[in-house]
């Protein structure tokens, strides 16, 4: 019984420690952002060369065109890579690592050409890759894994071990680092993958689903780390995730891939800003008549609760007059009307819709 209580206490302590760590990190971000805001602006302006330049890149697997003339330029900084399954995200990541070569087109990643042997070697020294899913070197402890991977990245043995401990400290893996990785929790394995990606301090990080399989606390911690790397540490990173809120929380820019092409790319605030304006309207009275009037006015809408509707406005401006007119015509009384914040999800879906229309019309 006392052992069980001790275990509970330890778990609670660990959770508390994680909370504290995440809070510390949040505070660290704020401080770093406040202190370094001016300098950051200057640095960004000084090193604004794109971290990734792709020109008419084509990669086919048999009859499937995974990348179909992809042309793209990514600025330094944190960028989200979005797209449905089969959009070409994995192919793009492999290409970024120089694991595969393009059929045609050219690519420069972190200033390196991934199609040449020397370029690939330089590229892999400049990139930290955090793969999706479980990956571990069988039989090794955390510190041994990171240390060995550091050596493979080009660190001398003594530096490799020191650096392994530094990055394991950074991701918050304490005594566990001396245990075999096979017995670790998913959250710890995710943090280990981030640590090994950072061990050679690369300027560009490729993070593939970093929050995959994490509980809310672990997810918050991981997002805090990614945010810190992208903003306070000024790393360029490409975050590949299906969780749009994660991308929105950690990235400045986003690329939406669809069928091997860039359906949309740019800064998140700009993309979200171009998404359709939308308001949430709550009415008293004949809701059905109000909905009919909205249909008659050509305003797309959907139910948003009892007597409430989310209505898409015709333009990008938040002009609610057509909605109020429809309410007046249906004798419904508007009791509340408020703008609905456009989300990255809306921008993402819109970009995919437009890409689908473009493909059909071609």
């Amino acid at each position: 019984m006392s052992a069980a209580r001790d275990a509970e206490h330890r778990n609670a302590d660990q959770l508390d420690a994680q909370h504290r760590n995440a809070e510390q990190l949040d505070a660290q971000h704020r401080n770093a952002e406040q202190l370094g805001a001016k300098q950051a602006g200057a640095d960004q302006a000084g090193t604004n060369a794109p971290i990734l330049v792709l020109d008419d890149l084509v990669k086919t697997y048999g009859a499937v065109r995974a990348l179909d003339g992809l042309t793209l330029q990514l600025p330094p900084g944190p960028t989200g890579l979005l797209g449905p399954n089969g959009a070409g995200k994995t192919t793009l990541l492999k290409l970024c690592l120089g694991l595969i070569g393009p059929d045609s087109g050219s690519a420069r990643i972190a200033g390196c050409d991934p199609t040449t042997t020397a370029g690939r070697a330089r590229l892999r020294r400049s990139i930290g890759y955090m793969p999706e899913g479980d990956c571990l070197v069988p039989g090794m402890s955390g510190v041994e894994t990171v240390g060995m991977l550091a050596r493979l990245s080009g660190l001398v043995p003594r530096d490799a071990m020191t650096r392994a401990h530094e990055v394991l400290d950074y991701v918050g893996l304490d005594e566990a680092r001396y245990r075999e990785v096979a017995g670790w929790s998913t959250g710890m394995k995710q943090r280990l993958k981030l640590a090994q990606a950072l061990v050679h301090d690369p300027p560009l990080l490729l993070l593939d689903e970093p929050t995959d399989g994490l509980d809310p606390t672990g997810r918050r911690h991981m997002l805090a780390l990614v945010h810190d790397l992208g903003h306070a540490q000024k790393k360029s990173l490409i975050l590949c995730s299906h969780l749009l809120p994660d991308v929105e929380a950690t990235c400045d820019s986003v690329v939406v891939l669809s069928r091997g092409r860039a359906a949309a790319s740019g800064r998140i605030d700009a993309l979200v800003g171009t998404a359709r304006a939308r308001v949430r309207v709550e009415v008293h009275g004949d809701g059905a008549a109000f909905a009919r009037e909205l249909d008659a006015a050509g305003l797309a809408h959907e139910s948003a609760g009892a007597s409430a509707y989310s209505v898409d406005l015709p333009g990008a401006e938040l002009d609610a007059d057509p909605v109020l007119a429809a309410a007046a015509r249906s004798n419904a009384r508007v009791v509340a009307i408020e703008p609905e914040r456009a989300t990255l999800q809306q921008a993402f879906l819109r970009a995919l819709d437009e890409a689908a229309i473009g493909t059909t019309s071609r």
Partner: protein, 307 residues
């Protein structure tokens, strides 16, 4: 009190990255570290060669000691048990024709045993890397496929050498030291060279074969089963064909029999296995080696591309 003050502080790396890191060496050391952690398996697999090396060293020493006029009693001490042991060793040593024959027989026996070591430590190397996703981490580094294979090969070959070459060299050392006027080295010195060369070729061949099977398997158990399955199946087929066709050269189909034939040729030992042309044995072993290399190259290339 736990020191948490340093947590979550990112320290940029201020050192330099080597242009050509010794990746194969790092992988080799990592592989050995993992292997030496499994102490029970290590003890079970390395104890027999170690014990055999000690016994044979003593037998070889006895042989030379007897030649120099040492009495059996002196070998085992004055106690009853010591005298009995001395007599037993004397009998064993006098039955053997020569130190050379003793060493060659010992070397071939140890080479056979080393298959177990190589299979146990090599079967999981590539298969487990792929199953656990280690290749995703490894090939994201400036690690060439050649370095990867070399690193894995060195790991498995180390255990092969520990089983096949090191014990024989130990016995050879004892023979050299015990022989009067370094006669072992002067008259039988070629055994040492041949032991090293034959052992190296044998270890290279079986290590490559085991790695090839490992690269095809999805887990260590399957790779182990595959290794022994192929060896035994080829042995059975070769024996059957040799018997049916009344042509002993069919034995070349079996890697084990081919190596036995080559060992007879190299160490000039005649046995039932040496009644067929050794060229077939060399051809068979070469084909198996080339095939193994081709399979490894194909599978590792695929591993890198799907990483």
């Amino acid at each position: 009190m736990k020191a948490e003050a340093n947590l979550e502080v990112y320290r940029p790396f201020t050192g330099t990255l080597r242009e050509n890191p010794r990746s194969a060496i790092a992988l080799w050391k990592g592989g050995l570290r993992v292997a030496f952690r499994r102490r029970l398996a290590l003890m079970l697999l390395l104890a027999p060669p170690a014990i055999a090396a000690v016994i044979f060293s003593f037998v070889v020493y006895t042989k030379y000691a007897l030649e120099q006029g040492v009495t059996p009693g002196a070998l085992g001490g004055e106690s009853v048990i010591g005298k009995m042991a001395g007599t037993m060793v004397k009998d064993l040593a006098s039955e053997a024709l020569a130190a050379r024959k003793l060493i060659v027989d010992f070397h071939l026996a140890m080479s056979g045993f080393s298959i177990l070591l190589v299979a146990w430590y090599g079967a999981g190397l590539i298969a487990d890397d792929r199953r656990n996703g280690a290749h995703l981490l490894l090939f994201a580094r400036p690690l060439s496929r050649t370095s990867y294979v070399l690193g894995r090969f060195l790991t498995v070959a180390t255990f092969g050498a520990l089983g096949a070459i090191v014990p024989t060299l130990l016995v050879c050392t004892v023979a050299a030291l015990a022989s009067p006027d370094w006669s072992f080295l002067r008259y039988e010195g070629s055994v040492v060279v041949k032991t090293i060369l034959f052992g190296a070729a044998w270890v290279t061949s079986i290590s490559t074969f085991v790695l090839a099977v490992s690269s095809l398997a999805t887990r260590k158990a399957f790779a182990l089963a595959g290794t022994f399955g192929v060896v035994f199946a080829l042995g059975a087929i070769a024996s059957l064909l040799a018997k049916i066709q009344r042509e002993p050269a069919w034995r070349a189909l079996s890697p084990g029999m081919s190596w036995a034939r080559i060992s007879n040729e190299v160490f000039a030992v005649s046995s039932r296995a040496s009644r067929w042309d050794a060229e077939y044995a060399y051809l068979s072993v070469s084909v198996l080696f080339v095939l193994s290399c081709a399979v490894i190259a194909w599978r590792v290339r695929r591993m890198e591309a799907v990483a």
